[in-house]
């Protein structure tokens, strides 16, 4: 028995070795891909991706806001009383701001609404795709949500995906819901539709962002969401993300951003409205966010300055 298990573990190590070295082929270079020098930059970061006190701490902290934003968009747009025929069973939605109500009543209504929301979400769970998943910071978080049924994370960098897969093993809760694939978005079959496609901090790193967006749109189910984040191409962005972030505060590794690739939020809106997708997709929301040293990330009042999140829904 003992010898057999030694043999088996030796064989396991062996196959692991072979498979990992065969996977670690060259990173795939694709039409929608990040440029070669950026690719090697991310490979170098892969090993420290999950050190929450390391170079990616700022991304981990930004993930708080992303998840709040995704929750708000998905949950906030559920029709609570659809398919409810009996008026008695309808949850109360006051025609004015809840803030006007006394606290105890407000809490009751909020509890009732959120219970209904959870009920609806538990009946129809969402299938998610994270494009440019990197080390899996967002993909893991999505996979832990009760209303998500499965998450696929795709990226073009072997090393970050390896970091992502290794880290996934550290949480048994993730083993069934989360899957990573080394693939470009355009290589996923078009009939594979998702209810939520996320694309965070990636568009500013690719050469043809519009191309990536159309490939993303082609894979969204009716009623589904595209949630993305990127950075406006303005002096404030340069100042906060490149100068402050990379040089002054050293919170993001130098070389992470290049200004000419930043995309204004209005450019995305214009593109959607002038594209063949204009009837099917609607930009529902855009919101700015900023990193405030010693505080962390905070939503701002303007989506036109610095980093922003955007939520686009496929309406038909």
């Amino acid at each position: 028995m003992a010898t057999r298990s030694i043999l088996r573990s030796a064989r396991l190590q062996c196959t692991r070795h072979i498979s990992s070295s065969s996977v670690r082929c060259h990173d795939i270079v694709k039409l929608t891909s990040a440029s070669a020098d950026e690719m090697s930059h991310f490979n170098a970061l892969a090993s420290s991706w999950w050190d929450v006190n390391g170079p990616q701490r700022i991304l981990h902290k930004m993930n708080f806001l992303r998840m709040d934003y995704i929750n708000e968009m998905v949950k906030g747009h559920i029709k609570l009383n659809d398919n409810v025929v009996d008026d008695e069973d309808k949850v109360y939605i006051p025609p004015y701001s809840l803030d006007l109500l006394p606290k105890s009543i407000r809490t009751r209504i909020q509890q009732e609404q959120s219970a209904r929301r959870d009920e609806i979400l538990s009946q129809k769970k969402l299938k998610a795709l994270d494009v440019g998943c990197g080390g899996g910071i967002l993909a893991e978080s999505l996979a832990r949500l009760k209303y998500i049924s499965s998450v696929k994370g795709i990226d073009l960098s072997t090393d970050v995906l390896e970091a992502a897969k290794l880290h996934q093993k550290l949480d048994p809760e993730l083993s069934e819901k989360l899957q990573y694939e080394l693939t470009a978005i355009e290589d996923l079959p078009k009939d594979e539709k998702y209810d939520l496609v996320t694309c965070f901090e990636m568009l500013e790193h690719v050469q043809y962002p519009a191309q990536v967006l159309s490939e993303v749109f082609d894979r969204v189910a009716v009623g589904g969401w595209v949630v993305l984040s990127t950075i406006n191409r303005d002096p404030i962005s340069w100042f906060t993300t490149i100068f402050m972030g990379e040089h002054l505060l050293r919170i993001v590794p130098v070389g992470t951003h290049t200004l000419e690739k930043y995309i204004d939020q209005q450019e995305i809106r214009n593109w959607v409205e002038g594209s063949p997708y204009q009837d099917q997709f609607a930009v529902v929301n855009a919101r700015g966010c900023a990193y405030i040293p010693a505080y962390g990330w905070k939503f701002t009042s303007s989506a036109d300055v610095g980093n922003y999140f955007m939520a686009i829904q496929r309406v038909k």
Partner: protein, 485 residues
């Protein structure tokens, strides 16, 4: 046969849990109830481990004894609110064993005209309810209500989500799972769970995403996490016990007298019951626990009314002979010199009886952990801080901790984060630590002002309590500290 079984037991895979709570005191049980009561966290797999037997606590809940237990604490309105809204255990308390009070009188031993009277009954809270200073409640009663709430929640939860309470099992060992906080994809391809592995005295092994130390002052979890706890001993002891009054006092007042040896408080319980907390020097505490149970009530009455010169004389007699019945005459005679109406109005209702065997003594300490978190570890309650009971804050601070930890975990779950990660726990320590630190500072300062016999301070204290300025400051400190506002 036997060795094989042992082999199996030690190699058996540990049971995986989301949260393991060590300690079934008020803090640990509150956390378990609050987690299972929250729609956001109720699906987490939670196990609580307690070294002592919990059956007596359950029995108390089912059929409480007539006499009051001697570990009684005052619950701030904030803790009451936590029990109503978060842990949901408030409804399981026998309301006739809980005593709210809305008046507080504090006075000085050097000059009984130097007094503070705070009346909360005319302060209206925003909800429109009459305001209270605090509620007196037995610690075991709080634990019993929490156990009942947990049982009730379990009945509604699917089996796999039910909370597990393991008692009569001590945590004997905690080790890190294969720790690898930083994953280096190249040099460390083999990963296994970095979750702490907890071994119990009954042989069970649990491996947990988050380990919570609610395990009291000498917290084994705190030691495992190598979190330093700093502080000092006050060289003072607290003596507590339960009492019968000569008659029911309808005034709902908490009384506190500042003696040079430390403050003495008489706190109301339902009907003609009361409890006392007497902070004193080690020498005096030694006398206090030995004094004959028949003499003790009169000693308390004396300590609330007589001059300290008289008291010192009485202490000396009792030190020589703790059962010296002539002390009773001595006290009676000295008390007779105080005008009757003063006795009625300025002092608590006389104590008639000490409940047999209810006296206990404990050292007063100040201990505060440097932080409440480490990767996959959080501390709550006395494991995080031990405080001078002068302002009755020990248990209340633990309730606040639990509330804030649950908030942080709820946010973590909503955001799909790993709740054992410091990314989630940082919010807890950032909100809980500074407040506790400030509150502990207040308790410590109160102690330093009121527990000294160094002449200048005593003189200042006597003077000070009378002056309006000081009156307001002290009143403010006390009321804020005691009622948690």
């Amino acid at each position: 046969m036997f060795p094989l079984r042992r082999f199996l037991a030690t190699t058996a895979k540990p049971l995986l849990q989301d949260v393991v709570i060590v300690g079934g005191g008020p803090a640990g049980l509150s956390l378990l109830a609050a987690l299972k009561n929250s729609p956001t966290t109720k699906h987490l797999k939670c196990t609580l481990v307690e070294a002592l037997k919990l059956q007596p606590v359950r029995d108390f809940g089912e059929d409480p004894p007539e006499n009051f237990h001697n570990r009684i604490i005052s619950l701030t309105p904030k803790s009451v609110q936590f029990m109503q809204e978060k842990s949901g255990s408030w409804d399981y308390l026998h309301q006739d064993r809980v005593k709210f009070y809305d008046n507080m009188v504090a006075y000085d031993s050097q000059d009984s005209d130097a007094r503070i009277h705070f009346d909360a009954s005319n302060v209206i809270l925003d909800l429109g309810a009459l305001s209270q200073i605090a509620a007196m409640c037995e610690v075991v009663h709080i634990q019993a209500s929490l156990l009942q709430k947990i049982d009730a929640l379990n009945e509604e939860l699917p089996e796999e989500d039910q909370a597990v309470v393991i008692d009569e099992a001590k945590v004997v060992n905690i080790i890190a799972g294969n720790a690898c906080d930083t994953i280096d994809a190249k040099s460390n391809p083999q990963t296994s769970l970095d979750w702490p592995v907890v071994t119990l005295s009954n042989g069970q092994v649990l491996q947990t995403r988050l380990l919570v130390g609610a395990d009291g002052q000498n917290s084994p979890v705190r030691n495992y996490a190598e979190i330093e706890s700093r502080g000092w001993s006050y060289d003072r002891f607290g003596v507590v016990g339960t009492l019968k009054l000569q008659f029911n006092d309808f005034r709902d007042i908490a009384w506190q007298r500042f003696l040079t040896t430390g403050p003495l408080a008489i706190l109301p319980l339902p009907e003609d019951n009361a409890t006392f907390v007497w902070s004193s020097t080690p020498e005096l505490a030694e006398i206090l626990v030995k004094v004959d149970e028949k003499i003790f009530p009169q000693l308390l009455n004396a300590a609330m009314t007589l001059d300290e010169v008289d008291l010192n004389y009485i202490y000396k007699m009792l030190k020589a002979n703790p059962a010296d019945m002539t002390v009773l005459e001595e006290i009676e005679w000295r008390t007779s010199l105080i005008p009757e109406e003063d006795l009625d109005e300025k002092f608590p209702v006389p104590i008639s009886e000490l409940m047999p065997g209810s006296r206990a003594r404990f050292p007063l300490k100040f201990l505060h952990a440097d932080t409440y978190i480490a990767p996959r570890v959080a501390l709550v309650g006395d494991a995080a801080h031990t405080v001078h009971p002068l302002a009755g804050q020990g248990l209340n601070m633990g309730q606040t901790d639990v509330g804030l930890l649950v908030d942080a975990l709820e946010t973590g779950v909503d955001r799909g984060l790993d709740i054992g990660s410091t990314l989630v726990l940082e919010k807890y320590v950032a909100t809980a630590w500074p407040n506790n630190h400030a509150l502990m500072g207040v308790c410590d300062k109160l102690h330093k002002i009121f527990s000294t016999d160094a002449f200048p301070v005593v003189a200042l204290r006597g003077l000070g309590l009378k002056s309006l300025n000081y009156f307001d400051v002290v009143k403010d400190i006390m009321v804020k500290a005691i009622s948690g506002r």
